[in-house]
Assembly symmetry: C2
């Protein structure tokens, strides 16, 4: 029986300490997207079921949170973002110069068995380029996928972006007698080539008159020999000094039917976890979603927060970077200690003045023993405390890290002094 | 018939230009909460229906997006945050020093008739203080509610926080023979005293043996005469220099049954719109939610994004502040123009170096006519463009606002020069 005091299975509560990792991810994602010139958008959480059924076909449709609303509409909690994005772009693209470079960080929902790296409610970072047919857009997104990993502290050799091209598979199919209408069904087999038992693979390939060896041989083709697109992407990454992070792997085809060209997935080097991010070109989707009324080439990238969280926790340098960041996340800059409660009004005025100067300030909301106040101050991670006591208007300024203190004379400006101290290192403890 | 290319009725698409107002609100909310020493948390979007039915009772239960999930659970999209917060706090409060000061910015869902200032999916900013019985917590939250309005550019006289106290009404009921168990039903009448027709009010009051005049007389009581709590809150606001923004109005009781003490609502001065924010003390709710296992006093505040958006649009100075902010939201710092496409690799290397230095940089992803590139650069709102042309390694740096330009010699560092120019005013256009 589910506990009524816990979140639903596969859902998470983020109390402030847990929320810090989300914040860390969101900030890193936003920083990289912004450096790459992407603008933020957001879609509704709830959409018409038809929008997502039209697009995702197979796997996702069995995992939808789907219901009928009070207005008798068949609706779903979005399982991912791309169909909503395609809908918005079709509606509003006239107002924006092409190509569109849009990003989003939001929640998605899939009814799956909760497990390591896979939950029912998760955050997803999406970056998409629309209105650009050139492979330069694919390279730009793949470079972004590499820089997201580097921004999070992952080192060369700790992750790899595996590149593939569905056009290469389309050519393979033409040359091997697989009908164009059978491409998706065929790629479903390729998608599982590393996971399904050989007997099963051979049996399924027989329907296409193909041997497993033919597929394996194609996948083992020399780099870029099967795809001009991939040759161009690798050359672009080489120019950026990022080619070391990428490798061609034609076994990557991505599960969803709507991909049309270059596709890619980001893995940890050991491949111990499922892919941590992925994406690819979907030149037909916007047209499909809009029944042909808008036709815009597009390529997209998405990273969820679940697998990357696992990976950060397992990777020493990436984890150390997060921990160092977390230690700097004080809930305020200064905690005002009220050592003599008859001076409470003076203390509140000081708190107010600190806040109006732009600093974060906290204080005890009711009379509190002084050692409990210092404990409260410690828990905020504030570097400084100002003590308002019986000697007011003289104040004591304490550096809570260095355990040093100084007096602030009645005629001095405590805010100016504090602002200077905030720019200085902690002193004794740092030397 | 709903259009399949539009969001569901009462839901919104935020294309990048529309998203800027959300981002502006989120940043202002976060800044004020952070200055006040609040830490961010987040709850799930989906919760057990029982959690919200237990708490909200009347009005909200008719507005729930409620369904049965694939695991046969009775679930709802959260209509507001407080029940989820109470659940999380009950589960995790042992790990945090009291009082807890937590804030959240997230989406909520109510199936209402979409209208001005009221939508089915909206953002809500919540700030709550838990584990503090003193009226100092009420004053702190009310001060925060005032500073949120000031942060958004509202001036004295443009808004007012109306304060009331449910304890004063409890005393009124005791003195006027209304049974304690009838308090909520009685307050539902008071809640509508400015909206319901007099005949209806008199009829409903008759059931309590009360005259409308008795109620009106009580509401007209001299300030603070009916409530020590309100006297203390006003004294605290006076200390902060914020008393001018508040007024006592006992007709404010808040619709929800769980409020127990000081309650407040923020209105535009003309009261032309429904309340723009509100809150109050709910000392029993955490105990009710947890069947008595956790008992923690609490007071909360919430502002949705719909009414405040209307109000910003109608208030010249607040609107001007947003517009000025929006004009500074370039999607990148610099746009790299590729005037000679044979220099594309050099241009991409420059873009990459600019990004690695922390700057936002964009460029044409495929060969593009130069005037179209300048149009693209203009639309990003970037202040600068760097032109990579046949004279490479010499570069041209253009200030797109001032329409000025300078050459960057082959041996100079374009990134260092750009970083200096970014700190300088635009020149000609500004003088």
């Amino acid at each position: 029986m589910d506990s009524p005091y816990q979140p639903l299975p596969g859902f998470r509560d983020f109390a402030p300490r847990d929320r810090l990792l989300s914040r860390y991810l969101f900030e890193a994602w936003t920083r990289v997207a912004t450096r790459y010139g992407f603008s933020e958008y957001e879609a509704p959480i709830l959409e018409r079921a038809a929008l997502y059924l039209k697009k995702s076909g197979g796997e996702l449709s069995g995992q939808l949170f789907r219901f009928t609303d009070k207005g008798d509409r068949d609706v779903v909690l979005r399982p991912e973002l791309t169909a909503s994005l395609a809908r918005i772009v079709a509606d509003q693209q006239r107002d924006y110069a092409k190509p569109l470079k849009w990003f989003e960080i939001g929640r998605c929902f899939r009814y799956e068995k909760p497990q390591r790296g896979r939950l029912r409610e998760f955050y997803q970072f999406n970056a998409d380029i629309m209105g650009e047919t050139s492979v330069g857009a694919d390279a730009e997104l793949i470079a972004l996928s590499i820089d997201v990993m580097r921004e999070l502290g992952f080192q060369p050799g700790e992750f790899v972006v595996r590149l593939s091209d569905r056009e290469a598979w389309a050519t393979f199919c033409r040359e091997n007698g697989v009908a164009a209408g059978q491409l998706d069904a065929f790629l479903q087999i390729v998608d599982k080539i590393e996971r399904d038992p050989e007997v099963k693979l051979r049996e399924r390939l027989q329907a296409f008159g193909l041997e497993l060896e033919t597929i394996r041989e194609f996948i083992a083709s020399p780099d870029t020999s099967r795809s001009e697109n991939l040759a161009a992407v690798l050359a672009d990454l080489e120019t950026r000094g990022l080619a070391q992070f990428a490798e061609i792997d034609l076994s990557i085809v991505r599960g969803l039917a709507y991909y049309t060209g270059v596709v890619f997935e980001v893995f940890d080097a050991s491949k111990a976890l499922r892919s941590v991010a992925g994406g690819g070109r979907y030149d037909s989707l916007i047209s499909i979603i809009t029944d042909g009324s808008t036709d815009l080439a597009a390529t997209g990238y998405a990273m969820g927060d679940c697998v990357i969280t696992e990976l950060i926790n397992e990777t020493p340098q990436a984890l150390a970077q997060f921990v160092a960041w977390r230690q700097r996340q004080a809930t305020c800059d200064v905690y005002v200690i009220i050592a003599d409660d008859s001076k409470r009004p003076e203390a509140i005025r000081l708190v107010n003045a600190l806040r109006e100067s732009g600093l974060g300030a906290d204080y005890p909301l009711s009379p509190t023993k002084i050692n409990k106040q210092f404990k409260g101050a410690d828990q905020t991670l504030a570097r400084f405390a100002i003590v308002v006591g019986s000697e007011y208007p003289e104040l004591q300024l304490k550096n809570l890290n260095a355990r040093t203190e100084e007096s602030i004379a009645p005629n001095a400006d405590p805010i100016e002094i504090l602002k200077i101290r905030l720019t200085e290192p902690d002193g004794p403890l740092l030397t």
